[in-house]
Amino acid sequence: MSTLEIRDLQVAVEDKEILRGVNLTVKSGETHAIMGPNGSGKSTLAYAIAGHPKYTITGGQVLLDGVDLLELSVDERARAGLFLAMQYPVEVPGVSVSNFLRSAVTSVRGEAPKLRQFAKDLKNGMDALAIDGSFAQRNLNEGFSGGEKKRHEILQLELLKPKIAVLDETDSGLDVDALRVVSEGINRFRESGETGVLLITHYTRILRYVKPDFVHVFANGKIVEEGGPELADKLESEGYEQYTKASA
């Protein structure tokens, strides 16, 4: 059992306050959806938890099983069991996917995977996400389409098996087929019940495939409403307008 506990998190970017006190707890076996309009601070939450250098923490704590992640470096957070699936995975020239994945798995597990087992896991993972085998030899994210990048993020999720996964707009830019494949990957990851998922999205579409246990509405840097899956249905029909007006 793992718990991610975000306590009164305040974050600024270049002296501009973006997050104004976020409180949220995600436990193993739970899926939380964070929904909100553009610019509400959803992605800031994801990147601040992961430790992107652009974001300055001005207050609060983020505890993973009692350890304050904010005290750790980016890679230490990942090794502690945090995973961030990025909205815009960067292209890294000259670093092959297989080399990258092996380095990542080795770092997170603390030991190099057995080559044969790793090759098998990689192939199975790629097959399940309908990723062509040739991708292993390609440069990381280089020339990947939007959908290929997202599938590759989920492949990493499945290989690294984090305690808590933060998925930042993984659904954006995906066509229906790719959305289905990616959602199935997330669901396989959730199956064990040993992991928690924080799913950040602008649209309710993905929630038809990945059913959330809790839905949080984000506006103006904080959570303004919380509820169960039914809250997503309400957002689907009414949109974010009431929240953006309320916070203005």
């Binding site: 992961a50 430790g51 992107h52 250098p53 470096s73 980016v74 890679d75 957070r77 990942a78 090794r79 995973f83 961030l84 990025m86 995975p89 960067v90 890294v92 020239p93 000259g94 670093v95 080399n99 990258f100 380095s103 990542a104 770092s107 997170v108 440069n139 990493q156 690294l160």
Partner: protein
């Protein structure tokens, strides 16, 4: 910027075997302004007396004829006429030249490795001529090692339809000074592939140049360098397109780390009036890994004809991309390893182009050693 004040093509028009035709550089000249003359140990002003030794060993493919000849050999200096003071100094001071010849239509069965080992006992001058006759194919490796104060000229005569691949490794000890001109003259439909790796030495100034003797020539010049604290590694490229329908591609990349690590890259491409249908691109990228390192990168493209197939250049110098590091670290990869992965990727993309596996492995190992510093 001096280069913009006068037409580029005049920069390289001076060529002579006579040392007296070149004034001793004072440091302000366009061709010398980046080079710390005080560290040339007299190669530029005649004070470097040829009392040292650079041993030349040739491990040749059976198809290659190897000769050691005197200064009076009429074949020398036909491909390249010295275009600066140090080059002229070297041409006037070398005692023995090495001549490698690949006969017409011969295809060499293995790389020919020329190992130049500096004895560390003073200045030395050298000359190498590689003749690849029409339709022949050869691979030559120049491996510079040891400690030296060395200036030389290297001539590559690539015959019609011939292919020459050259790897030049500057793997000198830390105190070496090396000023070198590599000139390739390409016959009709000739192919030239040059791969330069510069890692060692206190000061290395290497000037690879290409000219074309007929249409259809294709030159590809690749370079990788890793500059450590205090090193000055300078590469001055010149591709002179004077014939129609020739190609050239230049891609040099380097990483710099440490106080006063200095890289200089000059990339001159001239497309003369007759050179219609030229296709050329030149690129230089520098990765600056620490404070105190400096990269000067100056691409120049002078087009004198309206009919080119393609002509472009690009130069970028920057630090490691935070987003790259963040992405790798967010997958648990520690900072140092993430940094190595990115740098290795940046340079390794070029190293992969070396077709000889032993050399490729050696270059990668040398880069790994640099990264581990």
């Amino acid at each position: 910027m001096g280069l913009n004040e006068k037409p580029l093509s005049t920069l390289h028009e001076k060529a002579s075997y006579d040392l007296a035709d070149f004034e001793v550089p004072a440091g302000r000249e366009e061709a010398w302004r980046f080079t710390p003359l005080s560290r040339l140990k007299g190669l530029h002003d005649g004070k470097a007396v040829a009392e040292g030794h650079v041993k030349v060993d040739v491990d040749a493919a059976p198809e290659v004829t190897v000769e050691t000849v005197g200064r009076d050999d009429p074949r020398l200096g036909k491909v390249y006429v010295p275009a600066d003071r140090v080059s002229a100094q070297a041409f006037n001071a070398f005692e023995k030249a090495t001549v490698l010849t690949v006969a017409r239509e011969a295809v060499t069965s293995k790389p020919t490795v020329v190992t130049l080992t500096g004895a560390g006992d003073g200045a030395a001058y050298g000359h190498l001529l590689v003749q690849v006759e029409p339709m022949a194919e050869a691979v030559i490796v120049l491996d510079h090692q040891g400690s030296a104060v060395y200036a030389d000229n290297v001539e590559f005569a690539v015959g019609d339809g011939a292919t020459l691949r050259v790897v030049s490794l500057q793997d000198w000890q830390d105190d070496a000074v090396h000023v070198s001109h590599h000139h390739a003259r390409l016959g009709r439909d000739a192919t030239f592939r040059s791969f330069v790796v510069t890692l060692g030495g206190d000061l290395v100034r290497l000037s690879p140049s290409v000219s074309y003797d007929g249409p259809g020539g294709d030159a590809d010049l690749t370079g990788v360098y890793f500059v450590d604290a205090g090193q000055h590694l300078e590469h001055r490229l010149l591709v002179d397109h004077s014939q129609p329908n020739c190609k050239s591609n230049v891609d040099y990349r380097g990483a710099l780390q440490g106080e006063d690590a200095h890289a200089v890259w000059i990339g001159d491409v001239i497309i003369r009036v007759a050179a219609e249908g030229t296709d050329t691109y030149e690129l230089n990228r520098n990765l600056i890994l620490t404070d105190g390192a400096r990269a000067d990168s100056v691409p120049n493209l002078e087009i004198l004809t309206g009919e080119v197939a393609g002509a472009g250049h690009a130069s970028t110098s920057g630090r490691l991309d935070d987003e790259h590091l963040f992405y790798l670290q967010a997958r648990g990869i520690p900072y140092d390893e993430a940094r190595r992965l990115v740098i290795r990727g940046f340079l390794g993309q070029l190293v992969e182009k070396i077709q000889i596996q032993e050399i490729r492995d050696r270059v990668m190992a040398a880069l790994e050693a640099e990264l581990a510093r």
